[in-house]
């Protein structure tokens, strides 16, 4: 699932208000990583349209800063946030840099780049992403880690968002529909539904709404919202999860889905969840 929405809103509330000029200035300097980290996030969140924004973010993405433990931020933190922001800003000029980041050895950066390429609907990314998914043991955990060798969830979701419904793309995703991890199965069902419109994948997502783990139910909610399948209206309403997430999913049904049921029916369910 695209799990950044809640983080974004939390930071929007908690973060200090700064001006666009201040954000650009913080991104220009490279001494204080926390400052540029926040600035990169801010510019994406605020959908900055300043002419310097995209060039500065691309530069920040290319500059793979080594990890500075003292700064309290993750490895390649600025580059990762720059990738996320470039995804939100929708400027295709960022695609070559994101494709390069997709080949980085830091899997966290590959994940951020894949999500951004999905948001940009970058068809150039389809074959490198498929190659990553097909690589040896892509879906196996890294030694001594919970992370998989490839950021499979992000890679698969990007393919669904980009929307190239070729047979080899579907074939690259399909093995993950039976992956042992439910979050990967959810991502695969979402992408396969987007690409094929085959209801059986929507049905898989509805089944995941009853998974014993809350985290999986949340993810399936977001994935049904992303595909906008209105047949899921009642199962979404009845899922044991926070109303906030159900409302996000139902917004997807309204904005992306088609009748039946009609829009007014979906809105009525949303009203009851407020």
């Amino acid at each position: 699932m695209a799990g950044t929405a809640d983080l974004d809103s939390a930071m929007a509330t908690a973060g200090e208000p700064i001006s666009e000029q201040e954000a650009l200035q913080r991104l220009r300097q490279s001494e204080d990583q926390s400052d540029s980290y926040y600035a990169a996030w801010w510019l994406g969140r605020m959908r900055s349209r300043h002419p310097e924004t995209v060039p500065l973010l691309r530069a920040a993405l290319r500059r793979r800063q080594p990890r500075a433990l003292s700064s309290g931020v993750e490895e390649n933190a600025v580059a990762r946030n720059a990738a996320r922001a470039l995804g939100k800003l929708g400027d295709p000029q960022a695609i070559p840099d994101l494709l390069a980041a997709l080949e980085d050895e830091d899997d966290g950066l590959r994940e951020a780049a894949a999500r951004a390429l999905g948001e940009l609907r970058a068809s150039e990314a389809v074959s490198p992403i498929c190659a990553r998914l097909a690589s040896d043991q892509a879906g196996q955990p890294l030694p001594n880690s919970l992370r998989l060798r490839e950021p499979c969830e992000a890679l698969i979701e990007a393919l669904g968002d980009i929307g190239v419904a070729a047979a080899d793309v579907v074939a690259a995703i399909q093995p993950f529909a039976t992956h042992e991890r439910p979050l990967i199965r959810s991502a695969a069902a979402r992408a396969l539904f987007q690409l094929t419109q085959d209801r059986r994948w929507g049905q898989n997502l509805i089944e995941l709404l009853e998974h014993p783990l809350l985290q999986v139910r949340r993810s399936a909610l977001m994935d049904l919202g992303a595909v906008g399948w209105r047949a899921a209206l009642e199962p979404i309403r009845d899922t044991l999860a926070e109303n906030s997430l159900k409302l996000i999913a139902l917004r997807g049904l309204v904005e992306r889905g088609q009748a039946p049921p009609d829009t007014e029916t979906v809105l009525r369910v949303m009203d009851d969840l407020l």
């Binding site: 926070e242 109303n243 917004r251 309204v254 809105l267 407020l274």
Partner: protein, 240 residues
């Protein structure tokens, strides 16, 4: 049943115990649903609208308010239903129980207040919509501001309260979160449905909905759609 709540409380006490004894998420949800169901049955059977408010009834309220603080959405939904079934006697305990540190619990409590629609909740709904840090709390408050039950108040008082609700909702129309603006559209629809067209405020309420629905309107498509639906219900065939 309309004379005394004893019979009802005899029925309720075991359900309270079951909630207190629940030792799993599922068990808590089931037990809370049962308690809420028993309270709703009692409220329904009692045509006076008098709900259990003696010490044992307060036990049921305390029990449900505690459930709102657990991170268990299924049980919280049931607990909100139970609190709403208890109705006005639950308002003071609700107002006294708000947990400043737990905004999930605050959202459920504001939802319960919104469902009861008691005018004693007005101050809280106003401040929640204007300044609570949790979007889920602001959203519940906006909905509640559209559905206060004012029938029992004198006419002039009703107009004053509706004006306060309207002012709060107009402020909430500029909220940064789409879901809060969505709730503001819903709140405005319900508030204006209960308002005479000549009443001061009716026009500014419609205007706020037009700003959300019209050109260019709200950035978020679902908010535009909801505000447009509200306008068509308010200015279309409904009423005069």
């Amino acid at each position: 049943m309309s004379k005394t709540a004893d019979d009802g409380l005899g029925l309720i006490r075991p359900w309270i115990r079951a909630v207190e004894r629940a030792d799993s998420a599922d068990g808590l949800q089931k037990a809370t649903e049962n308690l809420a169901g028993a309270l709703a049955a009692l409220a329904k059977a009692d045509h006076q609208g008098e709900s259990p408010c003696d010490p044992e009834g307060l036990d049921a309220i305390d029990c449900l308010l505690q459930v709102l603080g657990f991170n268990n959405p299924g049980a919280a939904v049931a607990a909100v239903d139970g609190v709403i079934a208890i109705g006005p006697p639950a308002v003071e305990p609700l107002l006294g129980s708000l947990d400043q540190r737990n905004y999930g619990a605050r959202a459920w409590a504001v939802r319960a207040l919104a469902g009861i629609g008691d005018v004693r909740g007005l101050d809280l709904l106003e401040s929640a919509l204007s300044s609570d840090i949790g979007p889920s709390v602001r959203r519940a408050a906006a909905r509640g501001l559209g559905q206060l039950r004012l029938e029992a108040l004198p006419q002039i008082e009703q107009i004053n309260v509706r004006q306060r609700c309207l002012d709060a909702l107009l402020g909430g129309g500029g909220d940064g979160e789409w879901v809060v603006r969505y709730a503001v559209a819903v709140g405005l629809e319900r508030l204006l449905l209960g308002m005479g067209r000549a009443e001061p405020g009716h026009r500014s309420g419609l205007q706020a909905l037009q700003e959300l629905a019209g050109e260019p309107g709200d950035d978020t498509p679902v908010v535009r759609l909801r505000a447009g639906l509200a306008l068509s219900r308010l200015t279309g065939g409904a009423g005069c």
